[in-house]
Structure formats: C-alpha cells, structure tokens
C-alpha cells in the first residue's frame, strides 16, 4: 500500500503540493486527474524523493520511504515511469533494463518475465534506446520500471503521443500488474482512457486533493469530470 500523509512540497520557495494525502491499495489503480499545473507530476517526484518534502511523509506498506535518501526509495520497491520516458540515452535497451534490474538485485528470471510482456524489446535488445520508436521507448520505460519487481508503480502520462495499438498494449500490462497485487498510481490526461482501467479517480486542484470517486461512478455520470477538469 502506497500512502501520502499531508505532503507539502515544491520547487525552492514555490509550494506546489499542499497537505496532499492519498492512499493506493495493493491491486488497485488510482488515477490522478487535474488540470495542467495542478501538481500531478510533482506528486510523483515527491514520492520518488526527487524534490524535498517541506512536511508530511510517504509510506510504502510499513516503511516510511520519505525518510530514506532518494536513491534508496526505488530500492524499497517503487517503480517510476516518468513523463516523456526519460530513458538513459546512449545506453542500449539491454543496458537500460540492466540498470532497472540492479536497483533491487532482480535475477535473470525477472528479465525474462518482463521481456515476455514486451517481445518487441527482445528484437531491439542491442539497439540504442534513442533509436527506438515512440511506442517502443514507452515499452522500454515501462519494462525498466517492472525490472524492479515493484510493490508500487507510478505512471506519468504513459499513453502520451502513442498510437492506439500501443496504448492498448500498455493498458494490458497495467491491468496485468494490478492482478499481481501492485499498487498503481496513474496520471493521465485522456479521461476516457482512464475510466476503463482505473478503480478510483482522485481529483487534484492547486496541489490539494479534491474528491475521490469510484471510476464506475464517473463513467455513469460524466458531468462530474467536466466540473473538475472543465474540458
């Protein structure tokens, strides 16, 4: 279970997140919805320890991960798939995955499992990451995070700029991860894509958490989404 308790965080003196509390249970997909600049990406960076918390804490199961130094947070079992993929340029597919495997000393069987989810990466194994297509890069970014055998997975706009077949492939992997009991926090702009996969949707506005709805409820009544996100 991934839990944020009263998190305040920001860049320098500009505070972005205000008293943000969230809970993502094991085997649950929680989607964060909000306008641009509401603090979705900042939430993920705060969880990963990439920006210092002003107050509050982040917990993974019984461990307070916000007390760890940044490089130890992924080792506790949090996989991060950042916006824009941010692969290690200059490194091959194999080397990108190796970095993921080493973070938690995952064995070769983990690599096999991950590659069987993304057979395309096996074909591109010795290629440099930046020579892959957009969809393949997203697969690699996802595979790299899965190499950690994460207990919690953070996905920041995983379908941005992808063609429908790729979106479907990524979606299936996310659902598969939920079945194995991973706590999944998802940020996504495309509301329709979210509602079919998420269990709960939390709205975020000016760095504060708004209401949380079961995804089914939003699917039934679309006006709630429009009220919060205002499309």
């Amino acid at each position: 279970m991934l839990e944020l308790r009263g998190v305040n965080a920001g860049y320098g003196r500009a505070q972005i997140l205000r008293d943000l509390s969230l809970t993502v249970r094991r085997g649950e997909i929680l989607c964060l919805l909000g306008r641009n600049g509401a603090g979705k990406t900042t939430t993920m960076q705060a969880i990963m320890g990439l920006l210092p918390l002003m107050s509050g804490s982040v917990h993974l199961d019984d461990q307070e991960v916000s007390a760890l130094s940044s490089h130890e947070i992924p080792r506790a079992g949090i996989g991060y798939i950042p916006q824009g993929r941010r692969l290690f340029a200059g490194l091959t597919v194999a080397q990108n995955l190796e970095i993921g495997l080493r973070a938690r000393n995952s064995g070769p069987e983990v690599l096999d499992d991950v590659l069987s989810l993304f057979p395309r990466l096996r074909e591109r194994y010795r290629q440099r990451a930046q020579t892959l297509s957009g969809g393949e890069q997203q697969m690699l970014a996802t595979a790299r995070a899965l190499c950690l055998q994460p207990k919690a997975l953070l996905l920041d706009e995983p379908t941005e700029g992808l063609q429908p077949s790729m979106i479907e492939a990524i979606r299936q992997v996310i659902v598969k991860m939920r079945e194995t009991g991973v706590a999944i926090l998802l940020v996504e702009q495309r509301v329709d894509a979210v509602l079919s996969v998420a269990d709960h949707v939390a709205f975020i506005e000016n760095g504060r958490k708004g209401a949380v709805f079961p995804a089914a409820e939003l699917q039934a009544d679309h006006s709630i989404v429009e009220r919060y996100v205002g499309v």
């Binding site: 490089h71 130890e72 991060y80 941010r86 340029a89 490194l91 080397q95 970095i99």
Partner: protein, 308 residues
C-alpha cells in the same frame, strides 16, 4: 638537413604533448560530462601530481626507477583522495550548481597553489626519468646510388618519451574499457544521461560523483607524473595544462571521450610542429582561433551530443 626530418622530430615532440594532454583532458571531460561541473582546479590537480612525484622520488632517494614507479602509483591515489574529499566537503554542499561550483573550484585552485608554494617552495625541481636512452632515428634519401638510410644529426628521441606515449595510450584504453565494459562505467553513463532518473533507479548519484571527481583528478596527476622527468615540478605549472585541456575538451565536444582524445592529438601535434617551425605563441594563437571557429560552426564540438 632537409624538411622531412624536422617534421618527424616536431611530430615526435608533439606526440608526447598530445599523449599527456589527452590524459589530462579526458579527466576534465569526464568530470564535466558526468557531473556538469566545470573544474577550474583541474590544472592544480595536475601540478600536485608532479609535486607529489618529486616528494616521493626524493624521499625514496637511491634508485631512480623505483622512486618513479612509486610516484606513478602514490601521486594519483593521493590526488584522487584529495579530490574526493573536496567533492564531499565542498561540491556536494553546493548541490553541484553549475555557477557556484565554478567559483568554488577557483577558490580550490588558489588554496592548492598557495599551500604548495608555502610547503614545496617556488623552485622548479626535476624528477629523474627511470630510463632515458637516446635513440637516433634514421632518415632516407635518394642518392646517386638509389635509396639509402642515414642518421641526420639531431634527429633523435629518448626511450622515455616513447614510454610516455605508450603509457598514456594504455591508460586511455583502460578508461575506455572502464566506461564501456564495466558495471561502474554503466552506472556513470546512466548518471551522465539523466541524473534524476539515475536516482529513481537506485543509483547512488553522490557516490558516483565523488568517484568521477576523484578519477578525473587522478588522471591529471598521472599525466603530470609522466611529464615531470621532462618538464620539472613547479607550483605554477598547472595553468598551461588547464588552458589546453579546456581547448581540447571544447573542440572535441564536452563529455565526449573519443572527441577529447582526437582533439588532444590534433592540438598536441600542431602545437609541436608549429612551435618548431614558427613559434610557440603562434601555436597557442591558432589553437585559440580553432576553438573560436568550432564554437561558431559546431557549438557542441566535433563529437558533442546535443542533449534535450
């Protein structure tokens, strides 16, 4: 003597410069590439390597080869350790901010220089080469009776100079293997590509930075030990290698190791040849002009990679 032997002699001298310069500049390039830190104190790490080499060789006395071999190991280790200390106590506290680290390393430059002046003194002191046989080099001519070899007067090098070139090539290949074939190299390249993502995948970035800073300084110290039997150790000797390293690193492309080595060979050789035929000042002028041209036409250097 005709022109050919002169050019050969100048290129040999230039190759020694190029070899030492390549080692020093690769250290600077590694630090900039991985840490994004412009290390103004790099030349002082070079100078410290030479001064420590003198101390080691002097205190061991006796056998020149033994003293030199000891210096070749001890000087890079000590300088590397000092650099790691400077990284952990100064650069880390500045959060590796690009501007503030420039000011901090300028401060480090003066501290190292003045402490050396206060302890080692203003003299230039030699370290004896472990071996130094004069090797005459033959040249060919087309005489009346066809092709023949002869030994022009003054065309010679020493076994030590050839050994310097060999040692530099060996260490450079070692750095290449370290960066491309080992686990540490992989971690260093991942950190260079994206620092935040390296952290998000469990790489202890601060430890990687300390190691890279130490390695960069150790490379400068190593090349200084190589050059000190030819040049003598002096507390102001760091300025030239610093300037030339920056020229080389900018021409080669910041953070690119093959570019750095190629640019070092280019600058070293042209420096040698132009110094022999014209003047050392002209060599520096042309090198600086080349930097200007590279910055105008290829701002990322010959081999530089454009980062997002």
């Amino acid at each position: 003597m005709e022109l050919g032997p002169y050019i050969l002699l100048a290129s040999l001298e230039g190759s020694v410069t190029a070899a030492v310069l390549a080692l020093t500049a690769v250290g600077l390039s590694l630090v900039f590439g991985v840490m994004r830190v412009v290390n103004i104190a790099h030349g002082e790490f070079f100078m410290l390597g030479a001064v420590i080499a003198w101390f080691v060789a002097h205190s061991l006395g006796g056998n020149a080869a033994l003293g030199f071999a000891a210096a070749l190991i001890i000087a890079p280790l000590l300088v590397g350790a000092l650099a790691i200390g400077a990284d952990m106590t100064i650069l880390k506290r500045l959060k590796y901010d690009p501007e503030r680290t420039i000011v901090a390393t300028i401060g480090l430059l003066y501290i190292i220089q003045q402490v050396t002046l206060m302890t080692y003194g203003p003299e230039a002191r030699p370290v004896e080469a472990p071996f130094n046989t004069r090797l005459a080099i033959p040249w060919f001519e087309w005489g009346d009776d066809g092709f023949s070899l002869y030994w022009p007067w003054g065309l010679s090098t020493t076994s030590y100079k050839l050994a310097v070139i060999g040692a530099a090539i060996t260490v450079l290949m070692g750095v290449w293997v370290l960066m491309t074939r080992t686990r540490i190299g992989l971690v260093m390249r991942a950190t260079q590509a994206d620092r935040d993502m390296a952290l998000a995948f469990g790489i202890p970035v601060e430890r990687v930075y300390a190691m890279v800073f130490g390695l960069g300084a150790a490379l400068a110290a190593f090349s200084a030990v190589l050059i000190v039997p030819i040049q003598q150790a002096h507390y102001l000797m760091g300025a030239d290698p610093l300037l030339l390293s920056f020229i080389v690193v900018i021409i080669g492309g910041l953070g690119s190791l093959p570019g750095t080595v190629l640019a070092a060979v280019l600058i070293g050789l042209s420096d040698g040849i132009i110094s022999v035929f014209f003047s050392p000042t002209l060599a520096k002028i042309l090198a600086t002009l080349l930097v200007g041209l590279v910055l105008v036409f290829r701002p990322h250097g010959l081999f530089g990679v454009r980062n997002g």
